[in-house]
């Protein structure tokens, strides 16, 4: 028997790691991976609450989050490819102007 709060703490730690990566990383691909980490942390809390309240709809929402994350990954990586093609860098500090 594991208290539900342990699962929530694990999901909070994962979310915090994602936020930290988002702040300290300078490679645009790694920043994107940090966002995926945050989404995973939120998914874990969804499933934990679904188990606590015996409501299966929590798991359905996890499914929707995953689908939206997959779509986001496809579009985001296409944007990264477009950025790299015009700037020839992946460092976000050098991508600070809208103008080329």
């Amino acid at each position: 028997m594991v208290p539900i709060s342990y699962y929530l703490i694990l999901s909070g730690i994962l979310f915090a790691c994602g936020v930290t990566g988002f702040l300290i990383k300078r490679n645009i691909i790694t920043i994107f991976m940090s966002i995926e980490l945050m989404l995973n942390g939120v998914n874990l809390s969804f499933v934990a609450f679904a188990a606590e309240w015996k409501a299966l709809s929590g798991q359905v929402f996890v499914f929707f989050v995953m689908v939206v994350a997959a779509a986001e990954a496809a579009v985001g990586l296409a944007v990264i490819i477009a950025v790299y093609r015009t700037r020839e860098t992946l460092n976000v500090d050098q991508v600070n102007l809208l103008k080329l």
């Binding site: 699962y7 694990l10 790691c17 940090s34 188990a51 929707f64 990586l77 490819i81």
Partner: protein, 170 residues
């Protein structure tokens, strides 16, 4: 007891992978640690009795999304990231801020969420029941998501397509 040991083991692997993602400087190492995080999260879902979510996690996240990431890293030949002034400022303010934030979350959860426990497989989530929910109660969101995925595919193709070259005249 076994449940707690399994939870702590996979949770430790999960957190170690997440911290390793932050420590590594090369994106490919970060991507591989993210695969570790997602795999152990799938095990945590199994402990909670969510078999369907665990399977989808492995197939969609650890499979499809991470292949896409590794593919893009290889395609762009991404190397080690270089330190900049902005990244040092972010490290100085970001890490203590996140530590304080996560400690606050942990304290609030431990104080206020009670000590209700879940047994292994307390909530059986068979794919049949999930499918029933998905195609009856949540039919409209499901259809809207399919339209979203279609738009995302077209957007990705348009964005990643090479810029139009002037057509050669014959």
């Amino acid at each position: 007891m076994l449940h707690l040991i399994l939870f702590l083991g996979f949770g430790a692997v999960c957190v170690a992978g997440a911290v390793n993602l932050l420590m590594q400087r090369h994106p490919i190492n970060s991507a591989l640690s993210l695969v570790v995080v997602m795999g152990s999260l799938a095990a945590e879902y199994l402990l909670l009795g969510a078999e369907f979510v665990a399977a989808v996690q492995v197939i969609v996240y650890a499979g499809a999304v991470m292949v896409l990431f590794v593919f893009v890293i290889m395609l762009l030949n991404a190397g080690e990231e270089e330190e900049t002034k902005g990244s040092r400022v972010a490290v100085i303010f970001g890490i203590p801020g996140t530590l304080v934030g996560s400690l606050l979350i942990a304290w609030v959860l431990l104080e206020h969420s009670g000590t209700r426990s879940v047994a292994v497989g307390a909530l059986p989530g068979p794919p049949k029941t999930i499918g029933w929910l998905l195609f009856h109660d949540y039919l409209l969101p499901f259809e809207v998501t399919s339209v979203l995925v279609l738009i995302a595919i077209m957007g990705a193709v348009v964005l990643a397509a090479p810029p139009e070259s002037p057509r050669r005249e014959n």
